[in-house]
């Protein structure tokens, strides 16, 4: 595997099509990040409007996933890319699918937040703080590794996913303890457990994105290693 930068493609249309595909992935990621922030804001500010925005805007992200698939197929059928170009197209399509699932988790969080907002605020909500922080950081870094073609950053995300799994388990165990002590708020604790689980899934999707970045940049398949 060589690491030197290469020159532009002879066919400018091909470069334009690849850039467009890449741009669509980054646009989708940006909208998804906004939806996640809205869902989290709706949760902590107890504002259903933010939650509703997050749920409504998911449709645009779904359409972008379809657009990315279409653009990827078009690049493959028109230009028959090989080597790193082919890896980039394949990875872009797979990353699009993972971003769409992150956006679905934002919708799930927003729906759970609306349920929590129906009842008085519980201090245990802040147990979620470290899970939220790490999952959002992971998603941002996964997208940054794609944008910057930074395989080192992507590899490092795999390790952070294990930390997120651990955090989610700690929060879930703590909330289960509270449920045993305070059965009156049982539905609220359950919703928090679900939200923590959604955040953990966002970490998984971010790790998947990171794997695709490593494949695109280094032609290495780092999936399912060490299992």
């Amino acid at each position: 595997m060589h690491t030197e930068p290469s020159r532009p493609h002879t066919l400018s249309d091909f470069t334009t099509a690849l850039d467009k595909l890449r741009g669509s992935v980054l646009t989708m990621a940006s909208l998804t990040k906004k939806n996640l922030q809205n869902a989290i804001q709706g949760l902590f500010e107890r504002d259903d409007d933010f939650c509703n925005h997050s749920i409504a805007d998911d449709e645009e992200i779904d359409l972008l996933e379809i657009q990315i698939d279409r653009e990827g197929i078009e690049v493959m059928s028109r230009f028959q890319p090989v080597a790193k170009d082919l890896r980039e197209v394949i990875s872009s399509i797979k990353i699009g699918a993972n971003i769409e699932r992150v956006a679905d988790q934002a919708v799930n969080i927003a729906r759970r937040a609306r349920k929590l907002n129906e009842h008085p605020e519980l201090p245990e909500l802040h147990l979620l703080d470290p899970v939220i922080k790490l999952s959002l950081e992971m998603f941002e870094d996964a997208i940054r590794s794609f944008a910057e073609r930074n395989a080192s950053l992507a590899v490092e995300l795999k390790a952070r996913d294990k930390s997120l799994d651990r955090l989610n388990k700690e929060v879930t165990d703590e909330l289960i303890n509270r449920m045993q002590d305070d059965s009156t708020n049982l539905p609220a604790y359950l919703n928090m457990i679900f939200i923590s689980r959604c955040l953990e899934r966002i970490g998984d999707h971010s790790a998947n994105i990171a794997e695709d970045v490593v494949f695109a940049v280094r032609a290495e398949d780092i999936r399912h290693l060490g299992k």
Partner: protein, 278 residues
């Protein structure tokens, strides 16, 4: 090996034909061995010390931009370049351990062992049947039953039998472009060669005719070692198991085709196959 010029050798009774078939085993890793091979057109050095080992019964693609030396190397395998005045070589090419430049090697016999198919189909202006038996006739084989058997076997191998079996004595020039090219392949294998050299065999064919020839190439590798020069990257990735990338007379990379087209080791290879130069 010799650095002197090699004029065309006239076959003579004392020259020993190159024996390729007797004891070579299928899958031999260095069936064709190119050893520090340099080739000169006059003073111009077209190949700069190529080293390459080609296994038997595989399809090997030579790729690279025009003028990179891939066809020059291909035409050296059957010493066709010697038809050009003023050429010379250094280094050696061996087939099954025997130098093709050995003075004892009879060049006509060598070419009988190494069939060649060209970019433009070149059927002889005679019947389909006579095109196939021509190599047998010049080898002194006059038995009609051998002719009949060879025509059917070679046309079947070239996936052409069903299309022409009822008009074997019609002119070959009445065939379509794709059929003519498959006829040339059938003719090339009529003398039972070990090696088939193909120099852009599909560049003048439509996609369906190309697919038929490619299917044929894959089928023929059971019996032949096939070296194909192509500018069509997709064709190289479809039909060959090994690919050699040449640039400016150098062999830049030689590896499994799967590796070359998914993750080449050299930047030049990647830039060429992805369309960034050439």
């Amino acid at each position: 090996m010799s650095t002197e010029e090699h004029p065309i050798q006239i076959p003579n009774s004392t020259a020993r034909p190159l024996e390729l078939t007797d004891d070579f085993s299928p899958g031999e890793t260095n069936f064709i061995k190119v050893d520090n091979f340099k080739f000169f057109y006059g003073k111009k050095e077209a190949l700069h010390g190529i080293n390459l080992e080609i296994p038997s019964r595989r399809v090997i693609s030579f790729i690279g931009p025009s003028g990179c030396g891939k066809s020059t190397l291909l035409r050296n395998f059957n010493r066709m370049n010697e038809l050009i005045p003023g050429v010379r070589h250094e280094g050696d090419i061996t087939i099954h351990g025997t130098s093709i430049f050995d003075p004892s090697v009879e060049v006509i016999a060598l070419r009988r062992r190494i069939g060649m198919v060209f970019q433009k189909s070149n059927p002889f202006p005679m019947s389909i049947y006579e095109n196939i038996v021509y190599p047998l006739r010049i080898a002194g084989q006059g038995d009609r039953s051998v002719h009949d058997e060879t025509v059917e076997r070679c046309l079947c191998s070239a996936a052409l039998w069903d299309e022409v079996k009822d008009r074997l004595h019609d002119s070959a020039l009445g065939l379509s472009g794709g059929q003519m090219q498959r006829l040339c392949i059938a003719r090339a294998i009529a003398s039972s060669p070990e090696i088939l050299l193909m120099d852009e065999p599909c560049s003048a064919l439509d996609p369906i005719a190309t697919a038929k020839v490619e299917e044929l190439i894959i089928e023929l590798k059971k019996d032949f070692t096939i070296v194909i020069v192509t500018h069509n990257m997709q064709q190289a990735s479809r039909v060959s198991e090994l690919t050699a990338f040449f640039y400016l007379g150098n062999l830049v990379e030689f590896d499994e085709t799967r590796k070359i087209f998914t993750n080449p080791s050299k930047l030049q290879t990647e830039e060429y196959i992805t369309g960034r130069f050439g």
